[in-house]
Symmetry: C2
Subunit: 256 residues, 2 copies
C-alpha cells in the first residue's frame, strides 16, 4: 500500500509544474519499463538514466526478478487499484517507473558531423514522442526543441517515444541562438514552393527545421533557412502531419 501522500506526489507528476518542481517524470508500461531497467545496467548506454522508484504489480515483479535485482531497495509492489490511481494510461500496464529528468549537454561534434532536427514549436506531445522515435530509427542523436515545444517529460510524449527517449538527447533552447552557434551548417526547412526533396542534392551535415502543426515554420526561423525544400504532393491535401513530414525528410537525408 502506498501512503496517500505518495499517491498524491506520483499523480502530481502528470502535470508539468510538478515535474519541474521535483525534477522527476514517469515512464509506464511493461515494455518501456524493461527497456529502462536494461538501459540503466548497460555500460555502453547513450546516457545514464537515474531511476528514483519502481512500482509494479506482483506478477510483473516476479517475472522480472533478475532485471530488478539491483533496484530492490526502490521497488514497490502495488495493486491494480493503486496503479490506476498513479497512472496516466487509460489502461495501466503492469509497471511505472519514476526517473530523474535528464542533465546532459549537446554533442557539438556530432551536430557538426550529421544532421540534427530543430523543432519549431511542435505542440502535440504525441508528435514530439513520435519524432523522437523516428530520430532513434534513423540514428539521429540530438533533437533541438524551441522553448515553446511540447514537454519531453509529458507522459504522452514518453509513451509515444517507445523508449527512444533513452537514446536520443532532447534540448530546449532558443532556436535562433542555436543556429548562430552553428553558422557553418546549412539550414533546411520544408515550405510550400521549396525545391523537390527527392530531386535535390541534400547536404548531409545540416540543421533541419520542422515547423508547428498548424502554422508551419515561424517567421524568425524562416529567415534563417538556407535551403527551402518541399515534399512533393500529388493529391489535394493541404498539409502532412508534422511527424509524417519529419519521417519522410529524415528518410531522404539518410538514404538519398
Amino acid at each position: 500500500m502506498l501512503s496517500k501522500a505518495k499517491v498524491k506526489y506520483l499523480s502530481s507528476l502528470k502535470s508539468k509544474k510538478f515535474r519541474q518542481k521535483y525534477n522527476n517524470f514517469v515512464a509506464e508500461g511493461d515494455k518501456i519499463a524493461i527497456e529502462i531497467l536494461k538501459n540503466a545496467q548497460n555500460s555502453t548506454a547513450v546516457f545514464t538514466t537515474e531511476i528514483e522508484a519502481i512500482y509494479g504489480l506482483s506478477e510483473w515483479i516476479e517475472n522480472n526478478t533478475s532485471l530488478l535485482q539491483p533496484f530492490q531497495a526502490i521497488t514497490t509492489e502495488v495493486d491494480k487499484v493503486t496503479l490506476q490511481k498513479i497512472s496516466s494510461l487509460q489502461t495501466p500496464n503492469q509497471a511505472l517507473i519514476v526517473l530523474k529528468t535528464f542533465d546532459y549537454s549537446p554533442d557539438k561534434a556530432v551536430i557538426q558531423s550529421d544532421f540534427t532536427l530543430l523543432l519549431d514549436e511542435i505542440q502535440d506531445p504525441g508528435n514530439l514522442g513520435t519524432i523522437l522515435r523516428i530520430a532513434d530509427w534513423f540514428g539521429i542523436k540530438n533533437i533541438i526543441c524551441s522553448k515553446d515545444c511540447a514537454d519531453l517529460y509529458n507522459p504522452k510524449t514518453i509513451q509515444a517515444t517507445m523508449g527512444a527517449f533513452l537514446r536520443v538527447k532532447t534540448f530546449r533552447v532558443d532556436l535562433t541562438e542555436f543556429c548562430a552557434t552553428f553558422k557553418e551548417l546549412p539550414v533546411y526547412g520544408a515550405v510550400l514552393g521549396g525545391s523537390n526533396l527527392f530531386q535535390t542534392q541534400l547536404e548531409k551535415k545540416a540543421l533541419i527545421v520542422i515547423g508547428n502543426e498548424g502554422k508551419g515554420i515561424s517567421e524568425s526561423m524562416l529567415q534563417l533557412l538556407t535551403h527551402r525544400i518541399e515534399i512533393p504532393a500529388n493529391g489535394q491535401a493541404e498539409s502532412l502531419n508534422a511527424a509524417i513530414a519529419t519521417g519522410i525528410i529524415c528518410a531522404a537525408f539518410r538514404n538519398l
Copy 2:
C-alpha cells in the same frame, strides 16, 4: 435547443454500434465542416457526401451564411453547452456535421494503374486517419482495410484525416480475397530483412501491405507478398510507427 432525444441520438454516434445502426457519422470542427460544405457543392468532387444535419454556434452560422445557404433546412443553431454534450472533442470547435456513411465502390481501373494501400489490422483510429491524410497528399485514391481495422467513422479517425476522408475511398474487405482479384499486381510489404526501400526498383502499379502496430503483417498476408522491402534503420529503435512507415513508403513509391 435540441430535444433530449436528439442529444441522445447524436451522442450515440460516438459508438460504432450506433453508427452502424443509423448509417451516420459525425465530423467536427470549423475547418472540416467548411471542407464538407464546399465538397458537397463541388460538382467535380471525388465522391458525393450526403449531409444529414448541421449544428453550429450562432457566430459560426453567421460567418458561413453563403456556404450554408443550400442547407438552411437542416442547419440548427446550438449553444456551447449543447455542442459540448454532442461533441467527441475535448474542446468542441464551433460546428458539427452529421453525414451518411459512404456507399461507393473500388475503382478497379485506378487500382490496376497505380499503387494502393492494404491496411492489415491497423488498430489505432489516429493512425488510420493519418494514413488517409498521407494517401490524400500523395494522390492515392483507394485504401483497402482488413475487416479488423479501426473504424473509418470513429470520430478520432475522421479528426486525424483533416478532411482526407472526402477524397480517399476506404473499403473494408477480406484482404486475401482482394489480392486474389488483382493477381497481376505485385504485393509489397515492409518486413525485417527485406530489401532496402531506397535501393530497390519499385514497380509503381502495386499493392502495398501495411502491418498492425504491434504485430506487423499477419501470417496470411505475409504469404501473399511478392516483394519484401525494409526501411533501412541506422539507430537502435525496434520499429517505426505504422503511419510514419506508411508515409516513407508512399514517398518512395511516388518519387523514386
